[in-house]
């Protein structure tokens, strides 16, 4: 099979997986407990690294932008600069990349191990659909928790930027907060929450697909894990471009 045919086949399989996981929502049994467990693992488990990433990203944004803003006498716009950068782009993308690395790899490795140790076959033999039991709860958990994690990264990032602005450049915190408040538009917030939902779907679908299609024993688990993280990360970056363009068109008055 050539690479184009393989790519199209994978797209088709992932689409089927999406369809089957959506169908899993309508028909019983529903696995609410599994959704809660996954939300805890994905959401609460990732809160630390996502907040840390947000904090230092906000900090470095101020570190890099402040001298330039100062050169043009616009240092009071530091808050706006950090807030819009984080909410529109860096918050959703960096959070998604961190979650793809931490959660996407874990999902792929877990499902892949279950495949190679025949646990997936055992599940089907016991009358349970692995898509309903394993895929749907993980995707729902990602769809719910990724926007919340992104919000957390944005907030901590803005705080981090403020601390750097105050401690290193001596900017008045009130000026920073006021600038950030003025700079954030409703369209920024909507766009900043739409992106993580799409990214969550990408991470969930790709990592579950790669895990479920693991072959070749423990070596295969490693390969599918690597493939899941790389494919999800690249797709997040590509999707971010197209999402920005779509949102830009929808809210044409605002630049995304």
């Amino acid at each position: 099979m050539n690479s184009i045919a393989k790519f199209l086949s994978e797209v088709q399989e992932i689409t089927f997986l999406l369809w089957r996981s959506i169908k899993g929502l309508w028909k019983g049994p529903r696995y609410f407990k599994d959704i809660i467990v996954q939300m805890d693992r994905i959401g609460v488990g990732s809160l630390g690294i996502v907040s840390l990433t947000g904090f230092f990203t906000g900090g470095v944004l101020v570190l890099q932008a402040f001298p330039t803003l100062e050169y043009y006498g616009a240092q009071s716009s530091a808050g706006q600069s950090v807030a819009t950068s984080l909410i529109r782009e860096l918050g959703p993308v960096l959070t998604a990349l961190m979650v793809a690395g931490r959660v996407g790899s874990a999902i792929s490795a877990e499902l892949g191990s279950m495949v190679v140790s025949q646990q997936m076959d055992a599940m089907r033999a016991l009358g349970t659909s692995p898509v309903r039991k394993l895929v749907t709860p993980r995707i729902i958990a990602l769809l719910i928790t990724l926007p919340l994690l992104t919000f957390s990264a944005d907030l901590v990032g803005i705080i981090g930027g403020g601390l750097v602005a105050q401690q290193i450049y001596g900017l008045d915190p009130n000026l920073y907060i006021q600038s950030a408040k003025v700079g954030i538009a409703m369209t920024d917030l909507i766009g900043g929450m739409v992106k993580p939902i799409v990214f969550g779907l990408i991470i969930g679908l790709i990592s579950c697909y790669k895990g479920l299609n693991t072959t070749g024993g423990t070596v295969g688990v490693g390969q599918s894990t690597t493939s899941a993280v790389v494919t999800a990360s690249v797709n997040i970056i590509i999707a971010d471009f197209f999402l920005s363009k779509i949102l830009q068109s929808l809210f044409s008055a605002t630049i995304f």
Binding site: P29, S113, M114, S117, Q118, Q119, D121, A122, M123, R124, A125, L126, G127, T128, S129
Partner: protein
């Protein structure tokens, strides 16, 4: 007990055309001209066999002969290219995954390595099917303890799979497969990699299921010890409920165990173990003797 008495009844009913209950006549599993190939590689080539109710069919064959494929097809995990598969008289060949879920509820499966869910305890593994069906916890606990007693593992109820030995994992796998009292059990090389006494324990469990629980089963193996145990011993209960294993002989002859042998997707032998041992086929003779 599904020993010669029931089988005599079965054969007599068939030969004389006497109307008997569907339950007795309808085979538990039937393969009709089943074919499967992956690209150019033939996996199964017009395979035909029947597993009667209460019968154990021992499937022998070397690696890659198609033994496990048969089991995967019964479960609907693989679909044949041609032919028909009947479970309890119902043609399941074209059933999708959703329809197969109903059929699978009546089939227990014991995997090669146990295939226990790593994240669940022994109790949760055995209770899995009942939890999925939202059975009351008191009832679940009673059933789990009963099944673990059957495999002599009631002390391991709170352990995690990682704490169990290979043999214990297989026995928990058997207990899990028995929950819900399925009438068909599929064993996929359940003794592979086990020491002889533990392998013997697994075979004894299969014999108990066949003779005391009237379960139909397919026992896939390539180990001659398993063939010896399953085709020459039977289980009886004494007045106090104790289980005893006896060799067939003058008193009783086993009719509820047959052997089929696969070679490169073809059935090259089907019959009793005595016939297998007398065959002149060089492949079978080499397989039986190991040289």
């Amino acid at each position: 007990m599904s020993l010669d008495l029931q089988n005599d009844h079965f054969h007599q009913a068939f030969e004389e055309g006497v109307p008997v209950e569907d339950e007795v006549v309808r085979p538990a599993i039937e393969f009709r001209d089943v074919e499967l190939a992956f690209d150019d590689q033939v996996i199964l080539d017009k395979v035909n066999f029947t597993v009667r109710r209460g019968e154990t069919k021992i499937v022998l064959g070397g690696s890659g002969s198609g033994k496990s494929t048969i089991i995967n097809m019964i479960l609907g995990l693989l679909k044949p290219d041609a032919g028909a598969i009947l479970i309890d008289g119902e043609d399941v060949t074209e059933y999708d995954d959703q329809e197969m879920m109903r059929i699978r509820k009546n089939i227990g499966m014991v995997f090669q390595e146990g295939a226990l869910f790593d994240s669940l305890s022994v109790y949760e593994n055995v209770a899995y099917r009942l939890h999925e069906e939202n059975v009351e916890e008191d009832e679940v606990e009673h059933e789990v303890v009963r099944m673990l007693q059957f495999v002599n593992l009631e002390d391991a109820i709170d352990k995690m799979p990682s704490e169990l030995s290979g043999g214990m994992r297989r026995r928990v796998g058997i207990a899990r497969a028995l929950v819900g009292n399925p009438s068909i059990i599929l064993f996929d090389e359940p003794t592979a990699g086990l020491d002889p006494p533990t392998a013997r324990t697994i075979c004894e469990l299969a014999i108990k299921l066949r003779d005391l629980e009237d379960v139909s089963s397919i026992f896939v193996t390539h180990e001659m010890n398993n063939l010896e145990y399953l085709s020459s011993e039977y289980a009886t209960l004494d007045c106090e409920g104790g289980v005893h294993f006896e060799h067939e002989g003058d008193r009783l002859c086993l009719l509820n165990t047959e052997v089929i042998m696969l070679k490169e997707g073809d059935i090259i032998f089907s019959g009793k173990d005595e016939q297998l041992r007398q065959t002149e086929d060089p492949y079978i003779r080499r397989f039986l003797r190991g040289k």
